[in-house]
């Protein structure tokens, strides 16, 4: 009888924990009604939110353990029998996936604490269960070493987020589902093409097998995957669902979008550099560069033109996808510099922190003031200093302002462009950063500093302030003491380029 090793057990538990917790969260009100009086059960209605936070805390502890286990050359792999001849349920962990799992649990913890602090938490058990399911799928995507399993979980994550957002804005949730379903179908198409080329859906052997593919086949696979993931990341032209969603929801559904962005970026980094070996794909670099520049500038300009905090946050989320595409373009050139792939890995770790800081601050303003229209907000800094600092730290980090963590990403991108003699790209990046800096400062000035009579503000709670404070601290800490983050990103970049763990 086969015995599971502790490492494999850890891998299984990391994947299963959110799903078990989601089931418990969904059953929470019924269990409360069976064991408590109706009044007590009502008082416990928000219970699933702290329960979700505790689950994430457990996951965080396990993720640290996983990170320590795979920090060297050690990789964990688990191969299950899903179907005899079509595909296997393969999970595996390397440094890259360990960092992503850690990030998903960490972000989930902050989101749950924030949601627990919001004044209204209607249908808290549904929200907690769906958010945990989405987290579980994201973790599965990070740990998956089978293309079909990866697409299966990506689709399932989109469906969980659709259900979650449907609780607040059904029409916009449908737009999210339609767009992301098209995107995930394209990723599936690319995975099937890889299967035809490689003869197997395991990711472990694909890079070598794909080297036998012709240039046009490689180009087709890469472009189909890239186009599909652009809808989920979200980048131009697949970004339309996010700004509309931002306008329609009060914010809590949108917090989970940070997870979707993180997971889509993970898939992009995993599939493109890991499997197609970027420099071998003809035309990918120039396509990615054009898409990246258009996404960056379109997002930044639309953020400048928008009039409320949610809209600006949504367009800033779109803009950040541009940086990743530009980094990929740099890594895909014939004279590819490893700096660009390192920048992409670092971007993957830093940007979700910055985006979540912006979204949590926006959500806190909405919850305490009741509006996020910049015309109606003024002089909030005295009453909501944490939200102001969160917005400023997240936004300035996106713009690459030192000493925040985002500076390291921009430093790598600009230095990579200069090292390659691409002065125009370096100047364009600096100008885009300046525009994003202006947009963020404009929100901060109008909502938090403007000397007018402030709108009435509801009292805040520690649960609203704590996650933002942690994110501000993390962005500053990783910016000032950048050595560990740089090491992680180098490890992750190396891990992305190397083969996946052997089954």
């Amino acid at each position: 009888m086969a015995v599971l090793s502790p490492d494999t057990l850890l891998l299984n538990w990391l994947f299963a924990l959110p799903f078990c917790a989601a089931l418990a969260a969904e059953l929470f009100p019924r269990l409360a009604l069976r064991t408590r009086s109706e009044r007590e059960a009502q008082a416990l209605a928000r219970g699933p939110l702290p329960f979700g936070a505790v689950t994430c805390l457990m996951g965080l502890a396990l993720s640290f353990r996983l990170l320590l286990t795979v920090s060297g050359d050690t990789k964990i792999a688990a191969d299950y029998w899903w179907t005899r001849d079509l595909y296997h349920l393969r999970l595996g962990a390397d440094s890259f996936s360990a960092v992503i799992v850690l990030a998903i649990y960490g972000l989930g913890l902050l989101i749950f604490v924030h949601m627990a602090g919001l004044p209204t938490a209607d249908r808290a058990h549904h929200r907690a269960a769906l958010l945990l399911t989405a987290q579980g799928c994201g973790i599965g995507v990070a740990l998956s070493t089978d293309l079909i399993l990866l697409v299966f979980l990506l689709h399932l994550m989109v469906l969980s987020l659709w259900s979650l957002v449907s609780l607040e804005a059904p029409r916009e949730a449908d737009r999210l589902l339609v767009t992301c379903h098209i995107g995930a179908s394209l990723v599936l198409g690319s995975a099937l093409l890889m299967w035809r080329q490689g003869g197997d859906t395991a990711t472990a052997q694909l890079p070598l097998l794909l080297l036998s593919a012709g240039p046009s086949t490689l180009k087709l696979m890469a472009l189909v995957a890239l186009t599909g993931l652009l809808t989920i990341m979200p980048g131009v032209p697949g970004h339309g669902w996010l700004p509309r969603l931002a306008r329609a929801t009060p914010g809590t559904g949108l917090l989970s979008v940070t997870l979707l962005v993180l997971v889509a970026t993970t898939v992009l980094l995993r599939i493109l550099p890991g499997m197609l070996l970027l420099p071998t794909v003809p035309g990918l670099g120039s396509t990615s560069l054009v898409l990246g520049l258009v996404t960056l500038w379109w997002g930044a300009v639309r953020a400048w033109l928008d009039h409320d905090m949610r809209g600006r946050a949504a367009w800033l989320t779109v803009a950040q996808s541009g940086y990743l595409l530009i980094a990929l373009a740099g890594a895909a050139g014939t004279t590819a510099s490893p700096v660009f792939l390192e920048a992409a890995s670092l971007h993957l770790m830093v940007t979700p922190l910055a985006l979540l800081a912006i979204w949590l601050s926006t959500s806190a303003v909405l919850a305490r003031v009741g509006t996020d229209s910049l015309a109606a907000l003024s002089a909030l800094f005295g009453q909501m200093p944490t939200a102001g600092l969160g917005l400023l730290a997240g936004g300035l980090s996106l713009a690459g302002v030192p000493p925040l963590a985002g500076f390291q990403v921009q430093r790598l991108l600009v230095s990579g462009a200069l090292a390659g003699g691409n002065w125009a790209l370096a100047v364009t990046l600096v100008l885009a950063n300046a525009l994003i800096l202006f947009v963020v400062w404009d929100i901060f000035r109008r909502a938090f500093l403007r000397r007018e009579l402030p709108p009435p503000v509801r009292p805040g709670t520690l649960a609203l302030a704590l996650p933002v404070s942690i994110l501000v601290g993390a962005l500053l800490l990783f910016g000032i003491w950048s050595q560990p983050l740089a090491q992680w990103s180098q490890l992750a970049a190396g891990s992305v380029l190397s083969l996946r763990p052997a089954p």
Binding site: F152, H155, D174, S185, L186, L188, L192
Partner: protein, 209 residues
């Protein structure tokens, strides 16, 4: 027409074009239709058209896995359509009399639509992949693109049906059947091996001796 395509038997060629035409027409009608039941019906026809595409691949290469894929797809479409039909049928009560929408019927309809669209965690996801793999094995990349595009297009009728309908409560027997079909559709989605074995058995019966 290339030399490669000339090697396709006429029966396979006719079947593949018939399947593709049926897929395009039924998907178009599903998107255009205004009633939920008609939309569901046309999407079920589109699902069967995908099985016809796989049959065309089986006619070309009988020893491949296309026949099994076709049987698997038909199993998925049959389970999903039966589930949707059971959830949609009225049990004597009107929707206004039924009051609150029935949770089980709504869940059943959602699962049925997910299976018809080929979305996880249902059997439809695996049958869609089996169909695509059977077509790719014949180098029919264009038809794979058509199958994926049809699956994407059918989301519109699915969403309009799910958003517009308030399903009345189900009778006890019907509720039991719905529960069993939901379990089957999800179980085969999470563990497709049993569905594949059944499809293989059916395909063996249909295969030329």
């Amino acid at each position: 027409m290339t030399l490669h395509s000339l090697s396709i038997p006429l029966s396979s060629l006719v079947t593949v074009f018939f399947g593709a035409a049926l897929l395009v027409v039924s998907t178009g009608l599903a998107v255009r239709t205004r009633t939920a039941v008609a939309g569901l019906g046309w999407v079920a026809v589109a699902g069967s058209a995908q099985a016809i595409l796989a049959l065309a691949a089986a006619l070309r290469t009988p020893e491949g896995e296309a026949l099994r894929a076709a049987a698997f797809q038909l199993l998925a479409v049959a389970a999903a359509t039966a589930l949707a039909a059971l959830c949609s049928s009225k049990t004597g009560k009107t929707e206004s009399e039924a009051g609150e929408p029935d949770g089980l019927a709504t869940t059943g309809l959602v699962v049925a639509w997910l299976a018809l669209l080929g979305l996880p965690p249902t059997i439809g996801f695996h049958s869609k992949i089996a169909i695509c793999r059977a077509l790719l094995a014949e180098d029919w990349t264009g038809w794979v693109a058509l199958v994926l595009a049809a699956s994407a297009a059918c989301v519109w009728p699915a969403l309009s049906a799910l958003r517009s309908r308030r399903l009345p409560s189900l009778g006890r027997l019907r509720a039991l059947c719905v529960l069993a079909l939901i379990a089957l559709t999800l179980l085969l989605g999470l563990y497709p091996e049993w569905g594949l074995l059944l499809a293989e058995h059916v395909a063996r019966l249909a295969a030329p001796s």
